[in-house]
Symmetry: C2
C-alpha cells in the first residue's frame, strides 16, 4: 500500500467518508433515533423505503477526496453527480460542510437537525432522491441520465479558474448524450476555459444489469478513453484504506497535471494558439453499495445489482432490523458526532471553507454571478422601408448582425456564446464570424474558415451536446442562444423537459438566484424545408414547450426581421425562462418598420390596421402566427380584395403565442375583453398558424369566440417540393385561406360555389406548373403586397 | 500499388463507379440532355439545384465495391446509408441494378428513363434528396442523422446469414445515438445473429465544419474504435485506382474474417456459449466530393466543406456551364451507356442479380418476409374476479406472463424480441425471463441473473439505441415491443417522428409491404413516480404521438390488467402503426373481467353501467382515461353517493384515446351520434385524464358538448411525495373530482359552499397526515369500491 497519506490524514479521510455514508443510510432508512441512542426499532424506520444506496458510497468517497484536494491545492471546484438518485450522498456532504444548514436553518447541526435531515429525504414536501435544484452546489439533476458531462463542459467554458469534477455513472455512460459528450474536449481551450475532471465510476451495475463499460476489458476501456482524447488513470479496489491511498495520490497527480496543462498553455498562448492537450481523467472501480450489507437473506448484495436501491427491506423480519443497526454502527457514529449530534470539529475541519466548499461555490448558483449582457440597440439593425411589403429581407441574417454585436460587446466579459449543430452559417447567423470564430482545438487545414481555439460559436453535430453545454453555461451564470433546424430540435425534447423542471423547482428555492433564459432560435423551419423533404418538416417542438408551466415558457413567432430583432433583444434580457423563437431564414417580405415592430412585440398581438378595411366591424378576422402564415394571409387578403371588393377583413397577427391563453392560464394571456375586441365575439376567424392547428384550439378553448375559429396549419403533409406547395399540401395557402373566408362569411353564401370552382382550377394550374417547371407559378413567386390606400 | 484486382476487374469497378457518379451528378443538375448528346446549355439545367454531392462519390464507391464482394462471396447483404442526403448515390445504384426500373417501370433503362430519373430527383412529386422509403433496398432514412448503426444492428439480429453494411458519416458519428450505438456489438451473437459491417466514411466535413473524427490523430481514432470493440481496417487515398485496389482487398479480408468468426462460433456453440468476437470494421478516408470540381471560382472545392451540397451553381456564368459539362464528361459516359442510354451489358454484369442485389434484398422490404406471431390466447392470462373492484393486480406483471408465452411460442421462429433500457424487470415484465434471458455477450459473474448470449430481451441504458434496434428489427420483417418509463420515452421523440414519417411514406409506396407495428409500453408512469420525483413525471409523449398522421398512430390507456391484455394482443397483431400503451405496474383495483375487457377494448370506449346510476338520463358524466384517473373517478363516485345520494352519475371510460376525435379526423373516431349518446349534448362532463388536459380539449373540440367538458389531468405539478398526493397536487384526486361535479351540476347549486368547505378540510387533513406519516391516509390506502347493488 502506498503511504501517500500519513496515518492521521488517512484516518481523517476515512472518518469523513464514514460520516457521509452514515448520514446517507440514515436518510434512506430513519425517521427518528438518528444517532442510535436507543436500540433500533420499527418505529424509527420510514414507512416507505426510498432512495438508492448503490451509488452512494462511491459518490461520498469521491466528494470526500475532492475536499482534501481542494484544501491541499486551494481549488475552485464544483461537483456534478451524474449517477442517478445520488441524493443521499450529496445531501450528506452539503450537510457536513454546513452549507445545508446555512440555507435551511431548521436542519440544524445537532440531533434535531439530523432527524429533519433524515425525514425530509424522499418524504412528501421534503426533497427528492436525486440531486436537484433544492440541493446547494448542484447544477445538474440526477433524475434522467446522460447529461452530466455536457453540463460539466458548459460550466467550464469561460471559467478559467474552475475545475468541474464530473462523476459519470457507468449506467449513464451508455446513453447517447453522454457517449457523444466525451468529445467536448475538442472544444475546450486550456487558456480561457476551466478544466473538466471526468470521473468514470465503474460500480458495475445499472438497475438490473451489469454495465457495458464495467465488463469490457481494461485494455478496451483504456483504448476507448484514450480514443476520446483523455489520459485515463485507474484506481480500483475494495479495501478502503488501500483505495484511499491510491485515490488521494492519483487525484493529486491529476490536479498537478491539469495545472501544468493550463500553465503551459497560458504561458505560451501569446506566441501560438494552444493545442488540445491530453486531459487526465479518472476511472474508479469500487463495489456497488460498498460498505453496505454484504449478504441479505443469503444473497450477495454488496458489489452486485442487488445493492442498487434499498439493500435491506421488509423490517418485519427482526434479522433485517439487526442488520441495519449493525450496518449503521459499522460507521462508528460515536466517533463522528458528539452527544448532541454535531459533527466532531476535527472531522468538520477537513472540509474546505466558505466559497471553496463545493456546495457553496457560487458557480453552482449561477444567478449570483450573472451579469446582464451589454446589448447593442437592436433598433440600429432594423430593416428600413417606407411601406409594408415593399422590401424583402432574410430575418435570421438580420438577427445575425445584431448577434454579431452582442458577441462583440460582451467579448471582454466572456459571458456569451452561440450554440448550434453545424448550422450557424446555414441558419444565416454567420455575421457573428466577423467577431468570433467557431471553437475548434483540432489541427487546422488550409481551407478551414472561421475556426479558432478562442472561438465563441459552439458547433458539434449533436443537438444534445449543444443543449447540455448551453444549460451548463447558463446555470453557471452566463448567457447563450441555440439555433437549430426546427424539425431536429425534437432530439432534445427530453432535455428541455428536464431543464423546465429545473427552472420551476429552482424558482421555489429562495436562495437560488435567477439565471439567464434558455433561448432557442428555430429556423430552417417546416415551411421552408421543401427542398429537404418530409424528414426535415416538423413544427411540434412548440407543442412540447406549451405543455410546460406557464411561468417558465415563452413562444415567439415574429412575422418579419424587425419583429425578430425586438423579440431577440427581449429574450436576451429575460431570466429563468425557456424562450422559443421561430423565424425563417429565406428572403421574405417585411411588414413592420422598427417602431411598429417594437409596439407589436410588446403587446404580443395586434390588429394590422394598414392591412385591414374593417372599420371596427369586420365580416371576418384573418389571424396569423408565423412568417409564412403571415405571408399567405396577406396574400389571401389581396385575393379577397379582388374576389369580394366590399368584404371587411380584419388582420390580426400574433407574435407571442401565449397571449392566446386566458390570463389565468398564462401571465401573458390577454384579458378576455381585449381578446374579444380583437377577435370579435361572433365573427368567423380564419387562423393561419405555423404549427399543428390543434395547438391554437387548445390555447383558445376558454375564449368566447372559440367556436368560430377555423385553424389552418401543418397537417403532417410533407414532401420534397416547393415552398408554396408546402402551404398547398397543408391547406395553408392563400387560395385556401381566401376560400375559407368566403365559405364562412354568411353573407357570401351565394359566392361559395364559384369560389370553390375558382379554387380548384387554380390548384390544378399550380400543380401542373409545378411538375412541369419544378418551381412555383410566377404569380406566387412575384406576388407583392399592394397597400390598401393604393388600390383602385 | 497492390495488384489484388487484375486490370479487367479494376477497369470494371471503376467504370461502374463512374457510371454511378455520372447518374448522381445528372440527378442533381440535369432535367434534360441526359447523355450530353447536345452541347450542355442552360435549358438542360434544373431551375433549383438541390442535392448533396459531397457524400455521393464515397457512397457510390462503397456500394460498387460491395457489389463485387457480394458476387465474389455470394453474400446476403443490405446497405444502410447513414450520411445525410445520400439519395443521388443510392438511387443511381438501384437504377444501375435494374431494380429501380422494376419497381417504377416508367423510369426505363434508356435515355427517356434517364430523363425521368434525373428530373424526379428533388423535384415536386418526385423523390427526396435522401434515401427514403421510396428507394428500393432502404430501411433507413438519411434525413435526420444518427440512427444508421442502431438500425443496422436491429436488422442483423436473428438474421444469421445477413451482413448489414452500414456506412456511417463522420458528421453523423458526432450524434448521441450513433456514439452510443457502437456498443451494440456487446449484444450481437455470432451464432444466431448476422453481422454488421460498419464503414466509417471520413470525408472530413459536415455542412460547414471539419468533423471531429476526421481530425483526431489516427492513433486516437484507432484506439477509439478498438475501445468500442472493433478491429478497424483503414483504407485511404485520393487516387482512384490505388483506392480501388486497397478497398477491394481490405473488404475481402474483412468478409473472410466475418465468415471465420461466424463459422468458429457456430461450430463451437454446442460446447460453450460464444464469446464476443472482435468484429472487423472499415475506416475509409477519401475526399469529400471526390471526382467533382477541384476548384470553382478560385476556391478549392473537392476535399473541402465547399463540396458538401452543390459545388457548382449560378449557371448564368458560362464558365460554370462548361465546368459542369467537363465534370460530367470526365466520367466518359459514352464508354458507359449505349446510344439509347442503356448501361453497357458488360458493366451491368458486374452487379449481383436477383435478390442478391442490395436494392432487391427482401430484408430491406421486411413486409415480404413478415410472418404473423404465434400468439397465445390472451384470455388465458386474465385476472379472474367476480365483482369489479374486488381484486388488485399489477397490470404489467400480468402482461408479462402473456409476453412470456408470446416469446415462448415464437422462439423457434426467432422473430420476436422485447426491448427496454434496463427496465424490463422494474416494469414487472420479468416473467419473460422464464423463457428467455437478456442478450449479453460480455463475461458473466456469479451473481448475474437472466443474462445469456442467446437472450431475446434487449437492454442497454439508452432509449435511443433500443428504439433504433427495434426499428431496424421491425423494418426487416420481425416483431417487438419496447417498454420504457413514461417520462423518459421523450428521449426518442425525434426518432418516433422519423419512424412515423417513414410509415406514412412507405404506405404510399405500392411495393412496400406492411411491417409489424412499433409498440410501446409506457409504464412507471407519471402518477406512480411519486417516489422518484418530478424528473420522472411527464405524460407528454402521447401529445407528440397525437400530432402524427391519424392513419399511423394509436394510443391506448387500458384501465386495468385485463384491458391491457386485450390491447397488447391487438397491438401485436397490427401492422404499420405506432401503438402507444400506457399502463401502470403497481397493484391496483381491477374493474373488468376478461369478457367485459374484450368488449370494452373493441369499442375503445364504454359506459360502465355497473358503476352508474344514471338510467339513461345522467346529471353528470364522469369520464376517465388511464388507470389512475379511473381509480380516482370511481372513488369520487363512491364519495358522491354519500354526499348526494340521488345524483345520477354516468361513468364513461376511454381505452382508445383516438375515439374522442371526430371520425373524419381519425379512423377510430366515434360517429358524432354515438359520442353525443355517451357524453350527452348538454350535461357537464368531468373528465379525469392521464396526461395534460389540453390533449382532451383538442381531441374533442369538434364535438357537440365540448363546452361542458371540464378536464383534470397532469398540470406539471410534481414532487417526491405519495401516489395519492400526486393526484392532489394536480387536482385529479377523488375529492376534487367530486367537488367538480357538485360545482357543475346546476341543481346542486346550494350545496356548493358546504362541498367546498368539506373539500378544504379534507385537503388539510390529507396534507397533515402525509407530512406526519410519509404515506397516504388510511381512507385512501384502504379505499375499496362498493358495488352499486350492494349499497344501502
Amino acid at each position: 500500500m502506498s503511504d501517500f497519506l500519513n496515518a492521521e490524514q488517512l484516518e481523517g479521510l476515512d472518518a469523513y467518508w464514514r460520516a457521509s455514508n452514515y448520514l446517507a443510510v440514515g436518510q434512506i432508512y430513519l425517521k427518528d433515533n438518528p444517532l442510535l441512542k436507543l436500540p433500533l426499532s420499527l418505529e424509527h424506520i420510514k414507512p416507505r423505503l426510498l432512495g438508492h444506496w448503490g451509488t452512494t458510497p462511491g459518490l461520498n468517497l469521491i466528494y470526500t477526496h475532492l475536499n482534501r484536494l481542494i484544501k491541499q491545492h486551494d481549488l475552485n471546484m464544483i461537483f456534478i453527480a451524474g449517477p442517478g438518485h445520488g441524493g443521499p450522498a450529496v445531501v450528506a456532504q452539503t450537510y457536513l460542510e454546513g452549507t445545508y444548514t446555512e440555507f435551511c436553518p431548521s436542519v440544524e447541526c445537532n440531533s434535531n437537525g439530523l432527524v429533519r435531515l433524515f425525514r425530509q429525504f424522499s418524504w412528501p414536501y421534503g426533497i427528492s432522491s436525486h440531486v436537484s435544484a433544492q440541493i446547494p452546489g448542484s447544477i445538474h439533476e440526477g433524475g434522467e441520465l446522460g447529461y452530466s458531462l455536457a453540463h460539466a463542459y458548459g460550466a467550464a467554458f469561460d471559467n478559467p479558474e474552475l475545475i468541474v469534477a464530473c462523476v459519470i455513472g457507468d449506467g449513464e455512460a451508455e446513453t447517447g448524450t453522454l457517449a457523444a459528450s466525451w468529445h467536448s474536449n475538442k472544444f475546450l481551450n486550456p487558456v480561457r476555459d476551466g478544466a473538466v475532471l471526468p470521473i468514470l465510476h465503474l460500480n458495475g451495475y445499472k438497475i438490473a444489469n451489469p454495465t457495458v463499460l464495467s465488463r469490457i476489458s481494461e485494455d478496451e476501456l483504456s483504448a476507448l478513453l484514450y480514443g476520446y482524447g483523455y489520459d485515463p488513470y485507474f484506481v480500483e479496489g475494495d479495501d478502503p484504506m488501500q483505495v484511499h491511498q491510491a485515490l488521494a495520490q492519483t487525484l493529486d497527480t491529476m490536479v498537478v497535471k491539469i495545472r501544468g496543462i493550463q500553465l503551459d498553455a497560458r504561458r505560451s498562448s501569446r506566441s501560438a494558439p494552444p493545442e488540445r492537450p491530453l486531459w487526465p481523467m479518472l476511472v474508479l472501480r469500487t463495489p456497488k453499495g460498498w460498505t453496505g450489507p454484504k449478504f441479505v437473506d443469503g444473497h450477495r448484495v454488496e458489489g452486485t445489482w442487488r445493492a442498487h436501491q434499498v439493500p435491506l427491506a421488509d423490517f418485519q423480519q427482526p434479522a433485517h432490523l439487526c442488520q441495519l443497526e449493525e450496518w449503521l454502527n459499522s460507521y462508528r457514529p460515536d466517533e463522528l458526532f458528539d452527544a448532541d449530534g454535531a459533527l466532531l470539529p476535527e472531522i468538520a475541519a477537513l472540509a474546505p471553507t466558505g466559497h471553496r466548499r463545493m456546495s457553496a461555490n457560487p458557480n453552482a448558483n449561477g444567478g449570483v454571478l450573472l451579469r446582464a449582457l451589454d446589448l447593442p440597440r437592436f433598433t440600429d439593425y432594423a430593416v428600413p422601408f417606407e411601406v409594408p411589403g415593399s422590401q424583402r429581407a432574410e430575418a435570421t441574417r438580420v438577427m445575425g448582425t445584431y448577434l454579431r454585436d452582442v458577441m462583440k460587446n460582451n467579448l471582454s466579459a466572456s459571458n456569451f456564446r452561440l450554440f448550434g449543430p453545424d448550422e450557424t452559417a446555414s441558419n444565416r447567423l454567420d455575421a457573428v464570424y466577423e467577431v468570433s470564430a467557431k471553437a475548434w482545438m483540432e489541427p487546422l487545414e488550409p481551407d478551414d474558415l472561421n475556426l479558432a481555439a478562442d472561438g465563441r460559436v459552439m458547433e458539434i453535430l449533436s443537438e444534445q451536446v449543444c443543449e447540455g453545454w448551453l444549460e451548463g453555461y447558463l446555470l453557471t451564470g452566463r448567457h447563450g442562444l441555440l439555433s437549430c433546424y426546427e424539425a431536429f430540435i425534437h432530439i432534445v425534447d427530453s432535455m428541455v423537459n428536464q431543464h423546465a423542471k429545473w427552472l420551476k423547482t429552482a424558482a421555489e428555492v429562495p436562495w437560488r438566484k435567477p439565471v439567464a433564459s434558455l433561448n432557442y432560435l428555430l429556423t430552417s423551419h417546416v415551411w421552408r424545408q421543401d427542398h429537404n423533404g418530409f424528414s426535415h418538416q416538423d413544427p411540434g417542438f412548440i407543442d412540447l414547450v406549451a405543455n410546460k408551466k406557464s411561468d417558465v415558457v415563452r413562444i415567439y413567432l415574429p412575422p418579419d426581421a424587425n419583429c425578430l430583432l425586438s423579440v431577440t433583444d427581449h429574450c436576451l434580457r429575460s431570466r429563468n425562462y425557456i424562450n422559443v423563437i421561430v423565424a425563417g431564414k429565406q428572403p421574405e417580405w417585411q411588414w413592420l418598420d422598427i417602431d411598429a415592430a417594437i409596439r407589436h412585440c410588446q403587446t404580443g398581438i395586434g390588429r394590422w390596421s394598414w392591412a385591414c378595411r374593417d372599420d371596427g366591424d369586420p365580416d371576418v378576422v384573418m389571424a396569423c402566427a408565423g412568417d409564412v402564415p403571415t405571408l399567405e394571409t396577406l396574400a389571401a387578403v389581396t385575393l379577397l380584395r379582388e374576389y369580394v371588393p366590399d368584404l371587411r377583413v380584419r388582420v390580426v397577427n400574433v407574435v407571442d403565442l401565449m397571449v392566446l391563453q386566458s390570463s389565468f392560464q398564462h401571465p401573458h394571456g390577454l384579458p378576455d375583453r381585449t381578446f374579444d375586441e380583437l377577435f370579435t365575439c361572433d365573427k368567423p376567424v380564419i387562423f393561419a398558424f405555423h404549427g399543428y392547428p390543434a395547438l391554437i384550439h387548445r390555447l383558445i378553448y376558454k375564449r368566447t369566440n372559440h367556436e368560430n375559429f377555423h385553424v389552418r396549419g401543418f397537417n403532417e403533409e410533407g414532401a420534397t417540393t416547393t415552398p408554396f406547395d408546402m402551404a398547398v399540401l397543408n391547406n395553408l395557402d392563400r387560395y385556401q385561406l381566401a376560400l375559407d373566408v368566403i365559405e364562412r362569411v354568411p353573407r357570401l353564401h351565394d359566392q361559395v360555389q364559384s369560389a370553390r370552382s375558382r379554387y380548384w382550377s387554380t390548384m390544378e394550374k399550380h400543380k401542373l406548373y409545378l411538375i412541369e417547371n419544378g418551381q412555383d407559378m410566377p404569380e406566387v413567386l412575384n406576388w407583392q403586397w399592394t397597400p390598401v390606400a393604393a388600390r383602385n
